[in-house]
Each structure stands twice: as structure tokens, then as C-alpha cells.
């Protein structure tokens, strides 16, 4: 990587100045070294992928280059010019822009206002009309006419918000584009839309730093992959020289045979634990579903087709009605979360930070949260009483924590997710409802979650698993239901459970 020559995509060899040179970049938070002496280069027209587990430092590196985080030491130069960005605005002036992992849009403003925020002086007239007009042109240019410029960002789906976040980073034709987990909420067509944008940018000489957890995307889009672990750069591969398993084991720092564990076959026996017919709710228009003990049922489909509403309805978090609703042999008229927990349902909601955890409370208190009685003890006495269970959950899910009293908010994303999941483990659950538990979670934590889901299944606990990663549904689930416009349009199992079938059904094609 010290050579100044580089074979460009066109196949001709020419001396090319690197677009980005990062030298000995470090970042310390107190005694914690988030990034340790990272050096990398990226050339015009190149897509460099940055991979690693959560906490490996790749997001920090992206944020430093983007100007959102200050560095402790090291140099960054863009097109041979040393830059020292003090803010994101500074970086954008140098042609460096970033789509951030935690969506950085303003929920209370419209799409057009959000697009108007960047690259403009604060002293200037603003008109809704002309901002909408500009936004409409931008959205049309990027093939996103389905999003209305006047709509509030808060009213958009997560996937659409992510698209807008990406569009905003593309505005102003950056020389260097950083995509930090930009595809985490995107659907398969959204991902191919993103790849098209990346190819457009690189074809015109732009450079892309692509941070992702989705290993199977890398082969398609990355020219080079840099692997990070514990804040350090541990490996670098050029196109075609890596395999997913190789990357995964390098990221984890241990040998792993495959990304997905082996699912055990299931024999359908006995009565279904859940039987619901014609379930209706907000954005749910008549769902029939049966789940048998020990079965892992995947829920697929494009975002916004009623999958999340199905899970909330079954947990009673959203009002819903059904013609017939049986859980564990008990006929129900309506469901509510308290009843659901009493009957043996567990729920892992979509947003671990907003809906899953009390971030300021300790690890232990978060785990016992559903199991405290209104007039019983709380806090320390409960933690003490449940110590055995807490330790077993923490070790069986390998939660990385300094102890039960550490604040949940200080754990990494993957470990936070393990807490939301772990509170239902070994607590006599009959059915677990999982809302994309592996979104934005690193490979190691993903594998921990997969194996605990399988352990639950072997113990006879049923799982209804909404996943945005088709590979998970295909590889780990026994059966999959695909939703489209608020209904289940396809049920797939055995040999018919393939990625193509799931994606095809999600698009609304070849259904009955």
C-alpha cells in the first residue's frame, strides 16, 4: 500500500494520487483507546469497505474523517491537502461527506428542509416552496420520487429515512463519501439502489468508504476490504481475495466455521402454541398464523408491509382484533403486554435504545425489569435474589459487561441487544417475538444470538422472528411467512425456503 501506482478500473496503469491518506490516526476516550494508529489510503474511483465487530473502531474512524469526532493524534489528507476538520460542515467544504449510522435527520422538519440544511449559510432567505422544488429535483435525480418533499421526516419509514440520509450525503457531489452502516435498514431493492449510486459516484472519480456488517454485500461492491478489531487494522484484502468466513474469523479474532449455525430439523408435534385467524390492526389486514412448539418462523417482506405491526399486535402493544385468537390453548379476546408476559410471550422490540432498555439503569435491573412485582422489592434486593439467573444469562449470551451494576447505556449495541433478548431466557417462555434483533449488531454478537435462538427452539420454545436479512430467514428459520401490504402472501418451508423465493414474494410477485 506504499506504492503510488494503482491499477484503475479501466485497466490502465497510471500514477494516481490517493484521494484519502490517513496516517497513524488515534482516538482515546480517557483510558480507552477507541482507535489505535490506523493508517489507510483510498484512491479515486475506489470503494474501500471497513469491516469489524461493533466497537472495533470503524465508526469512530469514519466520524473522525467526517469531522463529527475530533482525533487524538494522526493526520488526514484529502487529495494531498492536510485537513483538520472541526465540524461536519468543515469536512463537507473539503468535499468529504458522510451518511451517519445513527440517522442524523431532524424528525420535526420536512424532507425538503432537511435537505436544505447542508452546505448553506445560515444567513439567507428560506422558502418552503423553493426548498420543496429543489428537493423534488434532487429526489427525482436520485430516482426516489416516491418520497414527498413536504412530508415530515418523523412520518417516514426507517428505510425511507435512511435513503434521505444517503441522498443528503450525495448532495454536492462529494469527492469522498463515507457510508457508515448506510444499508442497515434498507430492503433488497434499497440496497441495489444504493449500489447504483455508489457506482455512479466512483465512475466519475469519487471515492467511497463503505462501513457495513452485511458481509454478502462486500463481494458485490467493495474493491478492497480493511478489517478492524479492537481499534486496530488487522487485515486488508483486494477484490476476490477474501471469503466471507475468512473475514468473519479475522473480525472475531477466532476461527468460526460459518456465519450461520446448523439448524436442527424440527418435528411438528402437538397443538400449535399460537393460533390466530383474521388478525386486524393498524396496517394489518387479516393475518392467519399458526406456530408450533419449538418452531422458528421467519417474517420476511419489504419494510412497512405490516411485519412490525404483526409483532406488536401479537404482544398486545398495539390494539388488534381477530376472529379467533388462541395462545397456549387459552382463547383470547384481546391482548395486552401484561397479559402477554403472564401467558408466556417475550418481545424484543425494534429499537433497543428507545423501546428496549432503560439506558441509565444497570445491566441487572434491565434484565429483571419484566419480573418485578409492583409492590415487591426492587433494585438491590432483587438483583441479589436473581444473581444466579443473571449470571447464567450474562454468560450464556456472553454479554461483555463489567457487572450487573454497569449502566446499560454504556454497553455496545450488540451487548445491549443481548440484554433485551436475555431478559426472556429461562423464564418459562412459550413464544418469543423478535424484531430484527441482529440489526446493526456485529458478527460475534450475531452468532451468540443465533445460537441462543436455536437453544430456545430445542427447548421447545417457539420463535417468531422478523428479519430484514433474507439470509437469516433462509439459514436459521424452519419456516418463513412473507408479508405484503398487511397480509401474509406466502409461506415457505423446506426446499422452497430460498432467498429468491422470499425476495420474490416480498415484491408482491408470483403470489396467489
Amino acid at each position: 500500500m506504499t506504492t503510488s501506482e494503482k491499477t484503475t478500473g479501466a485497466g490502465k496503469t497510471a500514477p494516481v494520487v490517493p484521494r484519502l491518506i490517513v496516517t497513524d490516526l488515534s482516538k482515546n476516550y480517557g483510558a480507552i483507546h477507541a482507535v489505535k494508529r490506523v493508517s489507510l489510503e483510498a484512491y479515486p474511483g475506489e470503494v474501500v469497505a471497513l469491516v469489524g465487530e461493533n466497537g472495533a473502531g470503524k465508526s469512530t474512524v469514519s466520524k473522525i474523517i467526517a469531522g463529527a469526532v475530533s482525533r487524538s493524534s494522526g493526520q488526514i489528507s484529502v487529495d494531498g491537502e492536510q485537513i483538520n476538520p472541526a465540524s461536519v460542515g468543515d469536512s463537507r467544504k473539503h468535499g468529504v461527506s458522510c451518511a451517519f449510522q445513527e440517522l442524523s435527520l431532524i424528525p420535526g422538519l420536512t424532507v425538503s428542509e432537511n435537505l436544505d440544511l447542508v452546505d448553506k449559510s445560515p444567513i439567507g432567505r428560506f422558502s418552503q416552496k423553493s426548498a420543496s422544488e429543489t428537493a423534488r429535483k434532487i429526489l427525482e435525480k436520485f430516482d426516489l420520487s416516491h418520497i414527498a418533499p413536504e412530508s415530515l421526516v418523523a412520518s417516514l419509514s426507517l428505510a425511507d429515512r435512511q435513503l434521505i440520509e444517503i441522498v443528503r450525503s450525495l448532495v454536492g457531489n462529494p469527492r469522498l463519501l463515507i457510508l457508515d452502516e448506510a444499508s442497515s435498514a434498507l430492503t433488497p431493492p434499497g440496497v441495489s439502489w444504493l449500489f447504483e449510486r455508489i457506482r455512479e459516484l466512483t465512475a466519475s472519480g469519487g471515492t467511497v468508504i463503505y462501513v457495513s456488517h452485511r458481509m454478502n454485500e462486500l463481494a458485490e461492491i467493495a474493491d478492497r476490504v480493511i478489517v478492524m478489531r479492537d481499534g486496530e487494522q488487522v487485515g486488508s484484502f483486494t477484490k476476490g481475495s477474501w471469503s466471507v468466513d475468512e473475514l468473519v474469523s479475522m473480525m472475531a479474532g477466532r476461527e468460526t466455521s460459518s456465519q450461520f449455525p446448523q439448524t436442527t430439523e424440527i418435528k411438528i408435534i402437538g397443538e400449535p402454541v399460537l393460533r390466530v385467524s383474521n388478525l386486524r390492526s393498524d396496517r394489518l389486514y387479516g393475518v392467519d398464523l399458526e406456530i408450533y412448539p419449538g418452531e422458528i418462523v421467519g417474517v420476511g417482506g419489504l419494510a412497512g408491509n405490516g411485519q412490525s405491526e404483526l409483532l406488536s399486535a401479537l404482544f398486545g402493544a398495539h390494539a388488534a382484533r381477530a376472529d379467533n385468537w388462541e395462545f397456549a390453548g387459552i382463547k383470547l379476546r384481546r391482548m395486552n403486554p401484561q397479559l402477554a408476559v403472564r401467558l408466556g410471550v417475550g418481545f424484543v422490540p425494534e429499537d433497543r435504545k428507545l423501546q428496549g432498555l432503560a439506558l441509565a439503569l444497570g445491566v441487572g435491573e434491565n434484565l429483571v425489569l419484566p419480573w418485578q412485582k409492583l409492590f415487591g422489592f426492587g433494585g438491590k434486593p432483587v438483583i441479589k435474589k436473581e444473581q444466579g439467573w443473571l449470571n447464567s444469562v450474562i454468560s450464556s449470551l456472553s454479554v461483555k459487561t463489567r457487572g450487573v451494576r454497569e449502566a446499560a447505556g454504556s454497553l455496545s449495541g450488540g451487548n445491549q441487544q443481548k440484554l433485551v433478548f436475555g431478559r426472556w431466557v429461562d423464564k418459562n417462555r412459550k413464544l418469543l417475538l423478535l424484531h430484527d434483533p441482529t440489526r446493526g449488531v456485529d458478527v460475534g454478537a450475531k452468532q451468540d444470538l443465533y445460537s441462543s435462538i436455536l437453544r430456545l427452539s430445542e427447548a421447545g420454545i417457539s420463535v417468531l422472528w422478523l428479519s430484514t436479512e433474507v439470509e437469516e430467514i433462509v439459514n436459521v428459520c424452519h419456516r418463513a411467512v412473507v408479508m405484503y401490504e398487511g397480509k401474509i402472501v406466502k409461506t415457505l418451508a423446506g426446499a422452497t425456503l430460498t432467498a429468491d423465493e422470499v425476495v420474490g414474494a416480498a415484491m408482491g410477485g408470483n403470489n396467489d
Partner: protein, 328 residues
């Protein structure tokens, strides 16, 4: 039908609705209709003018509080800034012309905003603590300047701010309207104004878009301080004195007006028209009860009932609507 719906889902009406102004508008219309029914005399020139002079300073205080609340803060020092500006202006007017006294007073308001805003934006201190501290400091300064009502406001100045300078409309309302249009332009039609709303909605997001969110917060506090000072000048004009305790009542009333106006206390949402009408409603309750022949100690209970119902009714309506949609 679709055109009709479009009218309400885009443009100014939708903005008023999404900024929470529907409830205070309806509340004010109802309240004012009742007021006229009980006391038709309110529409005479003299009574209208007296009522306006009473509520206009509160409207300025409410707007000032709203600006700070939109950026996600709260200003406990508003009453103190009001008193300080009021007293300073009255003292300046003893020897100087309004052409000097007014800018200096506005500068005092801006300086108070600078103090609060600097500590909140750049030191990331909680607004409630910072403004509570400046409430004490400014209060002490004010009593140093003037310990009993006094100063030199001329009758001409009364006529210019609170008298019959123009036909039909009370002149204080005219000044308020002029200021509100300017504030509306600043908040809705300049990029800075959109940043003010954005910083309250998601400050980190604004920073990630490349906008200086700290400076935005600082400028919003300063704008708020200037707004309070204008209210203090209006107050001095209508009472013809400076009074070190004149601002005291405006702290809680400005917060109540902001709540009544449907401004989100978490930041990011608030309507100018809503804040003004909320201030008018709250400011006139006392007079209303007088004319209705009700003991004035009921004033606060009536104010509380209006506040609660205005806040509760829209929340109930939207909940019922959501519930209906779900189980349809």
C-alpha cells in the same frame, strides 16, 4: 376532495396545525366570544386599548419564552430580564431620548440572552439551572439600579406605545403585530429560523448536517432576550414608570402561555400566532371574571382549567382517532 385535503396538508394551515396552534386559536376565539357576550363594551376604543396594554407585554414574554423552548431550553430569568430592561429604560429616559434609550435597553436584553445562551450552548449546562442563576443575579442588579418605582417615562411615550396613535387599532397591538411579522419572517423564511426549529428537534442531527448548532442556540437565546426587552419597553410605556418588580408576574405566565400554545417542551415545535393568542387568553381572564361578577381569586383556577382542557382535548381527540384507525 383531494384538493381540499391538499390545502390542509400543505402550506400555512398545515404548519399551524403541526405546530400545535389549533387549540390556542380555538380557545381564544371561544374565550373572546364569551367575553364580548358578557361585556360588549370591550369593543369600545378605550376598553380595547386598556385590555391591549395589559396583555401585550405578556405576549412579548410568551414569544421570548417560546423561542427558548423551541431550542429545547426553558428560561426562568424572563421575569428578571423584564424587570431589568424595564428599570433601565425608565432610568435612561430621564435624560436621554428614546432613540438612545431603546437600543441600549434592547442591548441589555441581548446581553442577558448572551450570558444564558453562552453557558447553555458552549458549556452544555442545563438551561433551567443557568437561567435560575441569572434570575438571582439579574434580580439583584435590578434592585441596585432602582429600589422603588420611578424613572422618567413621558406622556408622549405613553401615547406612542400605548395610546391612540393610529385609528381603530390600539397602538400596542400594532407594535406587537409588526414585531410578530418580523419574527415570523425570521423563523419561517430564513435559514437561521429553520435551524432554530431543527436544533430543538435534534441538535446532534443538525451538527451532523454541517450546521453550527451551538451558535444557533446562542443566537436564539439572544433573540429571546431582545424580545423580552421590547415587552419591557411596552410595559414601561403603558404604566409610565419603571418598577423593579414589574417583571415578576411574567415568568410563570410566560411558561403557562407557552404550554397553552401547544409548544413542545422537548423543543422543535411552536407557533407564533399560538403563543400570542395564548398570552391574550391568559392575560384577560382577570378582567373577564371582573365583568362576569366572579370573585377574582377564582382567576387562577379558571386559568388552570382553560390550560388543562386546551392541552387535554387535542391529545384525547388524536388518541381516539388513532384507536379507531387501528381497530377498523
Amino acid at each position: 376532495m383531494t384538493r381540499f385535503r391538499r390545502l390542509f396538508s400543505s402550506g400555512g394551515l398545515a404548519r399551524l396545525r403541526s405546530e400545535g396552534a389549533t387549540a390556542p386559536i380555538v380557545a381564544f376565539a371561544t374565550f373572546f366570544a364569551l367575553y364580548i357576550a358578557i361585556n360588549p363594551e370591550i369593543l369600545t376604543r378605550f376598553q380595547l386599548q386598556t385590555a391591549s396594554n395589559l396583555v401585550v407585554p405578556l405576549a412579548f414574554a410568551a414569544l421570548a419564552q417560546m423561542i427558548v423552548v423551541i431550542v429545547g431550553g426553558i428560561d426562568i430569568s424572563i421575569g428578571a430580564i423584564m424587570s431589568l430592561s424595564n428599570v433601565s429604560f425608565a432610568l435612561l429616559m430621564v435624560n436621554l431620548s428614546p432613540a438612545i434609550a431603546i437600543p441600549v435597553t434592547l442591548g441589555i436584553g441581548a446581553a442577558a440572552g448572551l450570558f444564558n445562551g453562552f453557558l447553555v450552548a458552549y458549556f452544555r449546562l442545563p438551561a433551567i439551572a443557568v437561567t435560575l442563576a441569572s434570575f438571582f443575579i439579574i434580580g439583584a442588579l435590578t434592585r441596585e439600579l432602582m429600589d422603588r418605582p420611578g424613572g422618567g417615562i413621558s406622556y408622549d411615550f405613553f401615547l406612542a406605545t400605548s395610546g391612540e396613535l393610529i385609528p381603530f387599532v390600539p397602538v400596542s397591538v400594532f407594535w406587537l403585530a409588526l414585531f410578530s411579522v418580523a419574527l415570523y419572517f425570521l423563523l419561517q423564511r430564513t435559514r437561521f429560523g429553520r435551524h432554530v426549529y431543527a436544533v430543538g428537534s435534534n441538535a446532534d442531527g443538525l451538527e451532523a448536517a454541517g450546521v453550527n448548532s451551538k451558535r444557533t442556540i446562542l443566537l436564539a437565546f439572544m433573540l429571546s432576550g431582545v424580545t423580552v426587552s421590547i415587552g419591557a419597553i411596552m410595559l414601561a410605556g403603558s404604566t409610565l414608570t419603571g418598577d423593579p418588580r414589574s417583571g415578576d408576574a411574567y415568568l410563570l405566565n410566560s411558561i403557562a402561555a407557552v404550554a397553552l400554545a401547544g409548544v413542545a417542551f422537548a423543543g422543535g415545535r411552536g407557533s407564533i400566532l399560538g403563543a400570542i393568542l395564548a398570552a391574550f387568553t391568559l392575560g384577560l381572564i382577570g378582567n373577564f371574571l371582573y365583568f362576569a361578577g366572579i370573585n377574582s381569586s377564582w382567576q387562577y383556577i379558571i386559568a388552570a382549567l382553560i390550560l388543562l382542557s386546551v392541552v387535554a382535548i387535542p391529545a384525547l381527540v388524536s388518541r381516539i382517532q388513532a384507536e379507531r384507525r387501528k381497530t377498523k
